[in-house]
């Protein structure tokens, strides 16, 4: 019965999700199309080498990494910032909309007057958010795998799968955080603001902890640091990805418990 909420959630967002997939695939194609010209300019590595350390560490340009290789190029151009950013915007938007947004619009009242437990509603909606994130990551994977032979990225498909897994884990933890915040507080604004601020903070900690020593102890709290910053070159940190997924599950379960305690808000 709560499964209907999963179906409904996916169906309600299917147009937006399709648009996201097309947009991200187009962006990936654009980035890939530029690769041949980067590959043929050996000076590019020198240029990148001369970047300030702050920029290098924010964009995940590892010491000894080669940005003119397919893996290094995509790590810097896609996996260090743009893809996590795009997936997080989708995940947080979806997590905030599916519960807090529905409540703000007054549509939760009728649904929760039906004989289903609120926590099951939260879990079903969480499943819908997860399905959207996985869909986008799969589309990105297919796009990159198809472009690989065309522009000569020369990627290891295993590494690509790891990178996408790490990407999905990041989407999951912030998407479910948005859902859980909406479950705990009846408003859409914190459901977007809290995970967005948490993600921005975690991203900075991950990028800058080596340069700013006082941030270093906090790196364990950053999902970005946990999953690893250059997945195509050095692989994702499998244990880190697992930790992030477990954290995401805990956040979702907390939301499912907190939603039972509070009053449903009238718009």
């Amino acid at each position: 019965m709560a499964a209907e909420l999963l179906r409904r959630g996916l169906s309600d967002h299917r147009r937006a999700l399709a648009a996201w997939c097309v947009g991200i695939a187009a962006y990936v194609a654009l980035v890939a199309a530029i690769f041949p010209s980067i590959e043929s300019s050996p000076d590019f590595n020198k240029l990148v080498e001369s970047y300030p350390d702050v920029l290098k560490s924010l964009f995940g340009i590892a010491a000894g990494g080669d940005v003119t290789s397919g893996a290094g190029y995509l790590d810097v151009e896609l996996f260090s910032l743009m893809l996590p950013l795009l997936v997080l915007v989708l995940a947080i938007g979806s997590g905030a909309r599916t519960l807090a947004g529905e409540e703000d619009a007054g549509r939760l009242e009728l649904v929760l007057s039906y004989p289903l437990r609120r926590r099951d509603a939260v879990l079903a909606k969480g499943a819908a958010v997860a399905a959207e994130i996985v869909t986008v990551c799969v589309v990105v994977g297919i796009a990159i795998a198809l472009l690989d032979p065309l522009v000569g990225l020369d990627l290891a498909l295993g590494r690509l799968a790891e990178a996408l897994g790490a990407l999905a884990a990041l989407g999951l933890v912030y998407g479910w955080l948005a859902l859980a915040v909406g479950a705990a507080w009846p408003s859409r604004a914190p459901a977007i603001g809290v995970p967005a601020a948490a993600a921005a903070g975690a991203y900075l900690v991950s990028g800058l902890h080596e340069l700013a020593g006082w941030l270093d102890p906090f790196r364990f709290l950053s999902p970005f640091w946990l999953v690893g910053s250059s997945p195509l070159q050095s692989g994702a940190d499998a244990r880190g990805v697992l930790v992030v997924v477990v954290a995401a599950v805990i956040v979702l379960l907390a939301g499912a418990l907190l939603v039972e305690r509070r009053d449903l808000e009238t718009p």
């Binding site: 007054g106 009242e109 007057s113 004989p115 449903l264 009238t266």
Partner: protein
């Protein structure tokens, strides 16, 4: 062992932020098979009561049960017996009426499809158009169908005929009466006595979060004042009316006489007026706020 009532609340209270007393110590018992009208002006606590019964909000104090099932600890089973039409119905705008009802049926788990189709036909539900294109009344019909389509033991309706034309209002009243005749229970909230008086057996009146009075609908109607405006062919003597029991002359304006009278006094009013030549006679039910004032006045007299 007494069979549990359809609705039973004991000291049910809801306070917001420690100071806004939306509902104060509600003790209410609605028996099975009863049509109970729940009357009060906007903001009196009607919707708060209903949302407590549905477990959408939690009581600050007291408890509520539906067929003996506590709404807090046994809410899912309690809601299984319920059909609910919210006062401020919000549906999924992009869906068609059919998709919305189908989705709600899946959410419910078990729905009597034949009954649903019959209800749709009876109320003339627009099924094939997106809900965002529908008028308030047409959305309301979808809300009514979903409240009845699983043949619930208790139907809770918050202002059910809002936005419906008079013909459909009658159809809904007929539906309510049939439901009650099958031994099922109806809890009908409204701010208008007119909406409940033709179907309800008993009426509870709530004001500022407190249940002021519970009474059979007939006795409430008897006490409810009518505004009577009589236009005579020539000026009439108002003292002829002022002497009648419960009648108050509000104003005389030439040949136009305005007075207020409870239902039992209407016969005397008309007979007194009949001694003169009458051009026009209009009698309107007083609105709820005036009934409240009347109730309070009685309370003051007694206290």
């Amino acid at each position: 062992m007494l069979e549990p009532a359809a609705i039973d609340t004991v000291g049910l209270s809801k306070t917001y932020g420690g100071k806004v007393h939306a509902l104060v110590g509600l003790d209410l018992r609605v028996e099975r098979g009863e049509v109970f009208g729940y009357l009060g002006p906007n903001g009196a606590g009607k919707s708060t009561t209903i949302r407590l019964l549905l477990g959408l909000i939690h009581p600050t104090a007291g408890r509520a049960s539906v067929f003996g099932l506590d709404t807090r600890t046994n809410g899912v089973r309690a809601r299984g017996h319920l059909g609910y039409l919210p006062g401020d119905l919000r549906l999924s705008d992009r869906l068609t009426g059919r998709e919305q009802l189908e989705s709600l049926a899946s959410l419910r788990g078990s729905v009597d499809r034949a009954l649903r189709d019959e209800l749709c036909a009876r109320l003339g539900v627009v099924l094939e158009r997106p809900i965002r294109q529908l008028s308030r009344g047409n959305r309301q019909k979808i809300g009514l169908v979903q409240a009845f389509m699983h043949r619930p033991e208790l139907v809770v309706l918050d202002e059910p005929t809002a936005g419906l034309d008079p013909l459909l209002q009658n159809e809904v009243r007929a539906l309510l009466r049939e439901t009650a005749a099958e031994g099922r229970t109806i809890f009908l909230s409204s701010h208008s006595l007119d909406e409940v008086q033709h179907v309800a057996d008993r009426v509870g009146i709530i004001r500022a979060g407190r249940l002021v009075d519970v009474d059979a609908v007939e006795s409430l109607r008897e006490r409810a004042l009518r505004h009577v405006t009589i236009t005579f062919a020539e000026p009439a003597d108002p003292s002829q009316f002022a002497g009648l029991d419960g009648v108050r002359v509000v104003s005389t304006d030439g040949a136009v006489l305005r007075l207020s009278a409870p239902e039992p006094a209407m016969d005397g009013v008309v007979k007194a007026a009949a001694r003169y030549r009458i051009v026009d006679l209009v009698s309107q039910p007083a609105d709820l706020e005036e009934i409240f004032l009347e109730l309070y006045r009685e309370g003051d007299d007694g206290g």
